[in-house]
Symmetry: C2
Amino acid sequence: MDQISAARFFGGMQYVFRHASEATGTPMTFAAFVPPHAAEETLPVVYFLAGLTCTEENFTVKAGAQRVATELGLILIAPDTSPRGEGVPDDPDGAYDFGLGAGFYLNATALPWARHYRMEDYILQDLPRAVASALPADMTRQSIMGHSMGGHGALTLSLRNPGRFRATSAFAPIVAPSLCAWGEKALGGYLGPDRSAWRGHDAVALIEDGAKLADILVDQGLADKFLADQLKPELLEAACEAAGIPLTLRRQDGYDHSYYFIASFIEDHLRWHAARLTQI
Amino acid sequence: MDQISAARFFGGMQYVFRHASEATGTPMTFAAFVPPHAAEETLPVVYFLAGLTCTEENFTVKAGAQRVATELGLILIAPDTSPRGEGVPDDPDGAYDFGLGAGFYLNATALPWARHYRMEDYILQDLPRAVASALPADMTRQSIMGHSMGGHGALTLSLRNPGRFRATSAFAPIVAPSLCAWGEKALGGYLGPDRSAWRGHDAVALIEDGAKLADILVDQGLADKFLADQLKPELLEAACEAAGIPLTLRRQDGYDHSYYFIASFIEDHLRWHAARLTQI
């Protein structure tokens, strides 16, 4: 694993690493913040999955999470949002919502995407292996959060892997990709036209089909221009209510879809995660 | 004045504005954060001057200052670092340390720079006029801080204008541009070869020549790769000691020149400013 950069930040260290991923067949880049800690101490790990067009950098430089992570003693891991590099196909029109920067955190089954676009395996296997090998991480205490497409990723990966993540939260997540344009394009492209295959990668459908979580925290800005057409938090609200999953859905007046919104509420999310990561 | 963007952030509003500057003869862009406040209330104004290559965006998205500004009730103003646009000359080699993104917060007197590169007049005249006209600002309570080239700007503009700014601080400032390569290129280019003209735009020389401030706060990372050759905080330390100016110079172990360094200590700077801005 190559260390691309390292900088002191809030008393800890902000790293960027690159490593070969077996899942994607490409080099993958991720950012890792390690707060100050005692020698031999291991710390819980919080994954943040970013949204369309992002890399590992957006959350790392814009969300202001490291201050709180230092206070709470949390390692923060921010992966890239798709495979990249030689031989990795992109959206034929270069659109922002498919292909590079838009992996949707699933394993593609349709060609030509199936070869490299295996972000679910990357996030669940290669990335934790790299984290465990390089950082003072307690891999028995992991949690996951994300934004927009990454909120979809956090919800679906947690729902698909019961017990894997001790806390799950999202900012402005795509909760039902089968029922919005971003998701229909992504699931149709990566998984093919058979919509029954989509249900396993749609948080609302997963809950309807019986997947459970102990609880979920979601923040959603009410000035988010994607709210009505793409995000539709009311569908998650209805599914959680029907399934008896405690959902804390906070509708935040005046906030948009940007990292200004994330930064304003990241502290609440990290405290929510810390409370669940430090339970015995 | 055109409002380029507006977003809710920590309960306040983050704006970007563009306006015509008489000083530079160009449109100028600046970012402004206005914390939540009562109707009719006016708030102190803190200017942050950024370093080489930056725009109004770097501080705004990376420094994490708005959380603290909301707590303390401070307006934050982040201007661009040079004039830009049609007819504005750049470094003939396109270097990062002169011309576009490198205005050094002075009024150029040498050609071809003298026409547009008038950042001192912009910061002291056009920008405050725009702030006063558009925002709930108490213009009797202003303070200034900056980073690197912007630390030079904060120190020199405050030293050159006694009483104008109620607090002055800097992150990794260029304290003696006459004695480092960045500064020699900039002052030589913008002001011409006569070094006596440089002293009025060199913080250490200004202090040696009798300029005063009530006190100064400076943070400097000890892993900053520009420390020894460009920044030389020991020269400011010696000048302040000789002049009887209280300087709080904090050498921060392990920190580099990046916004990770700034974000780690911005809260201390804003509290320092707030204490001096809210004195009667």
